[in-house]
């Protein structure tokens, strides 16, 4: 009785934490969506009269060497970072899970081909492949996402495959088949809900690292292309002028750190919550 109580206490604490973090993520999404209406100045407008200005009433976080408003740029960058990371993870999740389930359910040649392909992609260090692919494709948000996604889907494919294989011979799947359900129906209605948990946990923990990956590629100049405001590329653009205008580097840096930490903490919380339920 006592043990049960302590577990539920821990779970309650985790749930509160989850709610707070989800609210923060919601806030980020909102800021990302509404950024065009929230910014005090045009994030891409340059001005020779306001170069490297320290924070003041017109420019809350100062300006960069082109006289662009740092606060407006950081605010506009929220959407790109958050949406591209979450969007990419969502795509990888769907594609990887679908492929993995198909492989686990049907087996045979499809399984062999897809899994060997996954092995091949996994033989590259993720960031090395991403840098090479993004570098060759020549930058752009879409290309950066593609470059990071090449290895990312394998995680879901492998997990979904092994859990589908384990489920396939369960009596309730056979019962579903005998009662006339089609393959697609069985996979979506009966297999998917049973394997979803660990996959969602992986997706939640992947968002933070994908965000760092996109920012890293942009920092190297092969991700989101300027003048689009992106935190990684802002840091790269302004680091040469750090002595003159440190705010132009520190503001986007703080934005990345806070955002990635919140998403990583969210991932950890969801993982812990799933763990508590399991035991």
């Amino acid at each position: 009785m006592k043990i049960k109580q302590s577990v539920s206490k821990k779970q309650r604490r985790l749930r509160i934490r989850l709610a707070v973090l989800l609210a923060l993520v919601g806030l980020f999404l909102l800021v990302g969506l509404l950024a065009p209406y929230l910014v005090p100045n045009d994030p891409t407008a340059t001005s020779a009269a306001h170069m490297n200005e320290a924070p003041n009433s017109q420019f809350p976080l100062g300006t960069d060497r082109y006289g662009r408003c740092i606060f407006s740029r950081v605010l506009s960058g929220t959407g790109i970072s958050v949406f591209s990371a979450m969007g990419l993870v969502a795509i990888l999740f769907v594609v990887g899970t679908a492929l993995g389930m198909a492989c686990g359910y049907f087996g045979g040649i499809l399984d062999a081909v897809v899994m060997r392909l996954a092995d091949c992609f996994l033989s590259f260090p993720q960031m090395v492949l991403a840098i090479a692919v993004a570098g060759i494709l020549g930058g752009g948000t879409g290309n950066a996402m593609l470059a990071l996604g090449l290895t990312g889907w394998t995680l879901y494919a492998r997990m979904a495959r092994s859990s589908t294989m384990a489920l396939k011979s369960e009596p309730f799947i056979q019962a579903a088949r005998l009662s006339g359900n089609g393959t697609l129906q069985i996979l979506v209605r009966h297999v998917l809900p049973n394997i979803l948990g660990p996959l969602v946990v992986s997706a939640a923990t992947q968002i933070g690292s994908v965000m760092v990956g996109i920012a890293g590629l942009s920092f190297l100049g092969i991700g989101v292309t300027p003048p689009t405001p992106e935190w990684g590329s802002m840091i790269n653009e302004n680091r040469a002028y750090m002595q003159l205008a440190p705010w132009a580097v520190l503001a986007p840096a703080a934005a990345i750190v806070v955002t990635v930490m919140i998403f990583n903490y969210l991932g950890d919380t969801i993982r812990d919550l799933a763990d508590v339920k399991g035991t």
Binding site: L117, C120, A130, G135, M242, A253, M261
Partner: protein, 311 residues
């Protein structure tokens, strides 16, 4: 054991072939004419005759499978083609950068292990204490900080504000310090979390309770039993961290102008020097695959229980 190594090596063949194929495909599929790119990179005047001659020299007129096989045989002979920029062999350029990259990554790895092994251990043993919380916050923060950000902030602080260290890294120990530190911080964050989790798992096992009840000294229990049981997983973490290290070294080398493989690769990317990019990617993936194999074998050598299981 030998049989196991043999089986693993045979299993690797299709993976390595697939990886080389993907790398070749990557460059093959880039839009544009390779002969044109080579001539443009060298700044040569382009006319139809020279272009055709270059195409013939580079074997671009041959069918795709022949080109791939030709490149693959070259690869196994250590010939990765010629750089577009200066016509020097790619393998030679890679070999020059290799030493510097090894110095950087190995010292960062050593630093990360030296920091995270004791910290991860302490956090696990003193679970729930203030110390544990402090170490976990450090690990979590380290894990969340992008390496390019750490380098830029460190550079600003140590090189510009305090003027303690050189901005452009040179061969001296001072030059190595900052790149090594910035590469080691995210890695330690990762390691501490993994080591802590692994030791906590061991602490919950029955043999630990048994040993404690038998009155075995704590120090002996920790070092001879728990640590030893963690070692196989530690090998796996190390091999997986090689990926983080290799990717990180590209970024760090570019920032600090450290003349290693990463800087070479970024330079090749900005000059569209495809053979060098190709060579870099193939080399990295071969090293990565090989390290993972070594970790598997190492884990098995340490843990005799696993020796009889063949995958």
């Amino acid at each position: 054991m030998l049989k196991y190594i043999g089986i693993r090596l045979v299993q690797l063949i299709p993976v390595v072939l697939g990886a080389t194929f993907l790398t070749f495909l990557l460059i093959y599929l880039t839009p544009g004419d390779a002969a044109m790119k080579r001539l443009t990179a060298q700044g040569a005047a382009i006319d139809e005759e020279v272009l055709e001659q270059t195409r013939e020299e580079m074997g671009l007129n041959r069918p795709f499978p022949v080109q791939y096989l030709h490149w693959l045989t070259g690869l196994f002979h250590g010939d990765l083609g010629l750089s577009y920029q200066d016509n020097r062999p790619v393998s030679q350029k890679l070999a020059e950068g290799m030493g510097n990259t090894l110095t950087l990554t190995l010292s960062a790895l050593a630093l990360a292990i030296a920091v995270s092994l004791p910290l991860g251990f302490l956090a696990a043993v003193k679970k729930g204490s203030l110390l544990d919380h402090g170490i976990r916050i450090f690990a979590f923060t380290g894990n969340s900080l992008p390496n390019f950000l750490i380098s830029v902030v460190c550079m600003y602080w140590f090189c510009i504000r305090l003027q303690l260290l050189p901005v452009v890294a040179d061969d001296s120990l001072k030059g190595l310090l900052l790149p090594c530190l910035t590469l080691a911080i995210p890695l330690s964050g990762q390691f501490i979390r993994q080591i802590r989790a692994e030791i906590l798992e061991q602490l919950g096992k029955e043999y630990v309770t048994g040993a404690k009840n038998r009155g075995i000294r704590k120090r002996f229990l920790y070092f001879s039993h728990i640590f030893r049981n963690c070692l196989p997983s530690l090998f796996t973490f190390l091999a997986l961290s090689a990926g983080t290290l290799m990717g990180g070294s590209v970024v760090i080398e570019t920032i600090f102008r450290w003349p290693g493989l990463g800087e070479l690769a970024m330079d090749a990317i900005s000059h569209r020097d495809y053979p060098v990019i190709q060579g870099f990617v193939v080399l990295m993936s071969l090293i990565y695959v090989f390290l993972n194999l070594l970790a598997d074998i190492g884990g098995r050598l340490i843990d005799p229980r696993r020796e009889c299981q063949v995958p």
